[in-house]
C-alpha cells in the first residue's frame, strides 16, 4: 500500500499548496496576506489531522493482518 500512502500525503500537501496560491477575497476584500496565511494554517491543521487518521487506519489494518491465520493450502 505504498502508493496509497503517497497519494494521501500528496493530497495533504496539495491542499497546503492550493491555499497558498488562491485568492483571499473570500475572507477579506482584496488580496490579504493575513487571510492567505489563515487559509494555509487551516489547511495544514486539517491535513495533519487527516494524516494522523490515516496512520491510525494503517495501524489497525496491520494489527488485523497480523492476527489472520494463514490459509491452509490443500
Amino acid at each position: 500500500m505504498k502508493k496509497t500512502n503517497i497519494v494521501i500525503i500528496s493530497l495533504c500537501l496539495s491542499v497546503l499548496i492550493l491555499t497558498s496560491v488562491v485568492h483571499a477575497d473570500v475572507i477579506t476584500p482584496g488580496a490579504s496576506s493575513i487571510a492567505t496565511l489563515i487559509l494555509i494554517i487551516i489547511a495544514a491543521i486539517i491535513g495533519t489531522i487527516a494524516l494522523i487518521a490515516w496512520l491510525v487506519i494503517r495501524k489497525i489494518k496491520k494489527h488485523n493482518d497480523s492476527k489472520r491465520e494463514p490459509k491452509i493450502r490443500v
Binding site: 491542499v15 485568492h23 473570500v26 487571510a35 489563515i38 487551516i42 486539517i46 487518521a53 489497525i60 489494518k61
Partner: protein, 352 residues
C-alpha cells in the same frame, strides 16, 4: 443493572434525549456566533474568520477526540462535558468573541463524538439510530441562527435547556458500547472501503456548500428545506436498513442529481433533491463504523473530518467554480457510482 435495549422504551429515551441535545448544542453554537454579528460587536470580516475557525475546530477535532473517547471509553462524559463547555461559550460570548467561538467548537466536537458513539450502539450495525441522532442538528442550526440574528438573544433559555438535557443524559442508561478492537475485520478491502465512503462524504459536503438556492431568503421555504434535510438524514437510515443500503443510497443519489444540479432554482425540486441527497449520510457513517469495529468515536470523527475537507475549497473561493450545474451533476453521479462500489466491497467477505 443491565438495561434491555431491544425494548423500544430505552431506545426511544436515548434517541430523544441525545437527538434533542444535538439540536440544542447546534442551536447554541449558531446563536452565539450570529448574536456576535447582530450585536455589531464584531465586523463582518471578523465574523467570517470566526465561523471558519469554529468549523475547523468543531469538525476537524472530532477525529482526535474520537480516538480519546474510544481509548478511555467515556462517551457519556464526552457528551455531557461537551454540553457544559458549549454552555460556557454562551456566557463567554458577552466577554470575548474569540474564546466563545473556541469553546463552542470544542464543546460541539465533544458532544458529537459522545452522542454519536452512543447512537452507533443503539442499533448494532444498523443506520437507523445514527441517522435519527444526526438529523435534528440541521434544525438546531436554523433555530440558533434565527435566534442569534433576531437581535434579542439572551443566554438563559438555552442554558436552561442544556442543563435539563445534561441531567437527562446523566440519568438515562446508555447501551453497552462495543469496544472490541480485536474483532477481525472481515474484508480484504478495508482501506478502500473507508477511503471510498469518506470520498462520498467529502462530495456531499462540497455539494451542500456550493449549491445555490436563491429562494432561501423566504423563511417558510427555508424552514421547509431544513425539515427536508432533517427527514432525509432521519429516514435514510431507516429506509436503507429495510430495503438495502446499496439500493437506497445509489437510487437516492441518482434521483437527486438532476434535481439539485438543474432544479436548484425551483423550491419543490430542490427540496425533494435535498431529502434524497441526505439519505446516504447515515449509511456511510454506519458502514465506516462497521468497518472499524470497536472504534465508534474515531469512526464518527472521520466523517466530520471528511465534511470539513469538503468545505475547504469554498473557503478558497473555489465555490463559484464548483457550483456550475453540470459539475454538481457530475459530482453527485460520481458519488453514486463510488457508493455502489464501496458497498459492493463492504458486502464481500474475506475469502471472496
Amino acid at each position: 443493572m443491565s438495561v434491555d435495549f431491544t425494548k423500544n422504551s430505552e431506545f426511544i429515551k436515548n434517541l430523544t434525549v441525545y437527538g434533542l441535545s444535538h439540536a440544542a448544542i447546534d442551536a447554541s453554537c449558531a446563536a452565539v456566533a450570529f448574536s456576535l454579528l447582530s450585536s455589531k460587536s464584531i465586523t463582518n470580516e471578523y465574523f467570517i474568520q470566526l465561523v471558519i475557525m469554529y468549523n475547523v475546530i468543531a469538525f476537524g477535532s472530532q477525529t482526535l477526540f474520537g480516538l480519546l473517547v474510544d481509548k478511555y471509553r467515556c462517551p457519556k462524559l464526552s457528551a455531557i462535558s461537551g454540553s457544559i463547555i458549549t454552555a460556557s461559550a454562551i456566557f463567554v460570548s458577552f466577554l470575548s468573541p474569540l474564546y466563545a467561538i473556541i469553546l463552542a467548537g470544542i464543546g460541539n466536537a465533544l458532544f458529537h463524538v459522545g452522542g454519536g458513539t452512543i447512537s452507533l450502539n443503539l442499533t448494532k450495525n444498523k443506520a437507523a439510530a445514527p441517522g435519527i441522532f444526526v438529523a435534528p442538528g440541521a434544525l438546531g442550526l436554523l433555530i440558533g441562527t434565527l435566534y442569534g440574528k433576531s437581535g434579542s438573544f439572551t443566554a438563559w433559555p438555552l442554558l436552561i435547556i442544556i442543563a435539563i438535557l445534561c441531567a437527562l443524559m446523566y440519568y438515562i442508561k446508555y447501551p453497552e458500547i462495543n469496544y472490541k478492537t480485536d474483532e477481525k475485520i472481515n474484508t480484504n478491502y478495508f482501506e478502500s472501503i473507508i477511503l471510498l465512503l469518506l470520498m462520498i462524504i467529502i462530495a456531499r459536503s462540497v455539494i451542500g456548500s456550493v449549491v445555490v438556492l436563491p429562494w432561501k431568503s423566504d423563511i417558510f421555504l427555508l424552514v421547509t428545506l431544513t425539515s427536508g434535510i432533517v427527514l432525509g438524514k432521519a429516514f435514510g437510515g431507516i429506509i436503507g436498513d429495510k430495503y438495502g443500503w446499496q439500493k437506497v443510497g445509489v437510487i437516492s443519489l441518482l434521483i437527486s442529481a438532476p434535481l439539485l444540479a438543474f432544479g436548484a432554482a425551483i423550491p419543490d425540486a430542490a427540496i425533494v433533491g435535498m431529502i434524497l441527497f441526505n439519505f446516504t449520510m447515515p449509511i456511510a457513517l454506519v458502514a465506516i463504523s462497521n468497518t472499524l469495529p470497536g472504534r465508534p468515536g474515531f469512526s464518527f470523527g472521520l466523517t466530520t473530518l471528511a465534511l470539513i475537507i469538503g468545505v475547504l475549497p469554498t473557503y478558497a473561493s473555489a465555490g463559484s467554480f464548483l457550483s456550475q450545474s453540470l459539475l454538481v451533476f457530475v459530482i453527485i453521479i460520481s458519488s453514486a457510482i463510488v457508493l455502489y462500489y464501496a458497498l459492493l466491497l463492504y458486502s464481500r467477505k474475506i475469502n471472496e
